[in-house]
């Protein structure tokens, strides 16, 4: 399935006149140069270069208001910013506004406080697959596996609006995972969670990388920052430091 999605994305990007093939080796998943974001007159950040490797895991830290969430939202195509150049899987994306659909399908952003649609837990998890017009049987089996992965199978018949913060976050992670995104952007996934709920979410994150996604997590959580193999970005005074 990963192969199928990957292939279709590449094909779609090649077909798009706004992109051109450049590097077939695709070591770097995403490379952005000259990324600037203003809030009104104020320059929020001015990042010379950011590179996300295939199967890479990163945490993005910085004080409150540094622009972590905004940076993730820009990378996820949810907010506009000035971008000098953007390369994805070896392809130069010549026009980033609006974000090409193939890129939006390959990059999934998960909110700090995920919102669930007022349908059912399985429908929420399978929503992105429905958009990709997969067969019902395939969606059902994928959703089933994802619910087991996230430990939310027992919530199958629960009202999504009644779930706790931790349950919501796990459903949102499952909803993102089934899409097998090339890049997953998690905005403070453990904030406002404590105890077991927080641990359950932390346990899921390394398995997302193992499943083939690159992951960038905006957070303050020391346990997430300390996960093995995780590289650290820090936003400070509008600049991105790589540690």
């Amino acid at each position: 399935m990963s192969f199928t999605i990957h292939t279709s994305i590449s094909a779609a990007v090649y077909e798009n006149e706004n992109v051109k093939p450049r590097d077939e080796r695709r070591k770097a998943l995403l490379g952005v140069r000259g990324l600037r974001k203003h809030h009104g007159e104020r320059l929020l950040f001015d990042i010379e270069r950011i590179e996300i490797a295939t199967h890479g895991a990163y945490v993005l830290t910085g004080v409150n208001g540094a622009g972590k969430s905004t940076l993730l939202r820009v990378l996820g195509g949810l907010e506009r910013a000035e971008i000098d150049s953007l390369r994805f899987e070896g392809l130069d994306i010549l026009r980033v506004h609006p974000y090409p659909r193939a890129l939006r399908k390959a990059i999934v952003y998960v909110h700090q406080h995920p919102i669930l649609f007022s349908t059912s837990v399985p429908h929420n998890i399978g929503y992105g697959l429905e958009l990709r017009r997969l067969h019902k049987e395939e969606i059902a089996s994928t959703v089933e596996a994802a619910m087991a992965w996230a430990g939310v199978t027992h919530l199958r018949d629960s009202d999504p609006a009644k779930l706790s913060g931790g349950e919501r976050q796990r459903v949102a992670l499952a909803r993102a995972k089934v899409l097998q995104p090339r890049l997953l952007l998690l905005d403070e996934p453990t904030s406002n969670l404590d105890g077991q709920a927080r641990e359950q979410v932390i346990e899921l994150i390394p398995t997302l990388v193992e499943a083939g996604s690159s992951v960038v997590i905006a957070c303050h959580d020391r346990d997430l920052i300390g996960l093995p193999g995780v590289q650290r970005f820090k936003l400070r005074d509008g600049r991105l430091e790589v540690r």
Partner: protein
């Protein structure tokens, strides 16, 4: 008064053909007008709520101002449009059911638009962002948002129906109150009362009150569901 009321019930329950034809014309023209108005009004309400563009505030102002536009004025404008020398005179819709449908459509538009706009504006913007983040196209985002705001949108449709079934000015001016053709509940009540024939007017009034009670009951149920959904969230 008592005699007229008793006679009204007799007319209602004996299936008086004239009375039920009037009710049928009213329901038919109102429902068709509403169905024609709903898609563009809901679409427009959604786009005004979701997108930032130059003149958006003016669009909201106009949409809300149109709510308080007297239907008799809408009727006058449509009369001028549809009259033989008017720009739409060739359609020959004046004093015909298509003319009333056109009028009901125009009367329903602002209600549907303004209520849909308010319903979509009240939604958490993360619904749209989540759909986008999961790969939804612009139309798929709209479908998701309208589903999440379905109680508000249904309330818009019910309110629109309430407005068109109970309005008299436009139906009278554009329809002409022709018996068996363009006579609606409200125009019939006005005519019968002016003639001093109260029984049919009271019978039609009972029908209007029943429709109003039904509409408001449905609205209350929807509002209750929406409130419960908000509380759960």
């Amino acid at each position: 008064m008592v005699d007229a009321t008793l006679h009204a019930f007799v007319l209602l329950f004996t299936g008086d053909p004239d009375l039920w034809r009037i009710i049928w014309v009213s329901l038919k023209t109102s429902v068709i007008g509403l169905l024609l108005a709903a898609p563009p009004a809901i679409l427009l309400g959604y786009f005004i709520a979701m997108y930032r563009f130059r003149g958006r505030r003016i669009a909201i102002w106009l949409a809300q101002a149109a709510l308080s536009l007297p239907t008799v004025l809408i009727g006058l404008l449509l009369y001028l449009l549809l009259s033989r020398r008017g720009p739409l005179g060739d359609l020959q819709w004046l004093f015909s059911q298509p003319g009333i449908v056109f009028g009901q459509c125009v009367v329903a538009l602002p209600v549907l638009l303004a209520f849909t706009l308010a319903a979509v504006q009240a939604l958490d913007p993360r619904y749209a962002e989540t759909a986008i983040a999961l790969g939804a196209s612009r139309w798929q985002v709209m479908a998701r948002m309208l589903y999440e705001g379905r109680f508000g949108v249904m309330a818009a449709v019910l309110s629109g129906f309430g407005r068109v079934i109970s309005e008299v000015g436009c139906a009278l001016m554009v329809g002409g109150n022709i018996e068996g053709q363009t006579r609606t509940i409200t125009t019939a009540i006005a005519l019968e009362t002016s003639k001093g024939e109260f029984a049919q007017g009271i019978a039609l009034g009972i029908v209007l009150v029943a429709i109003a009670l039904l509409m408001n009951g449905a609205l209350m149920l929807l509002q209750g569901d929406a409130h419960a959904a908000r509380e759960r969230a």
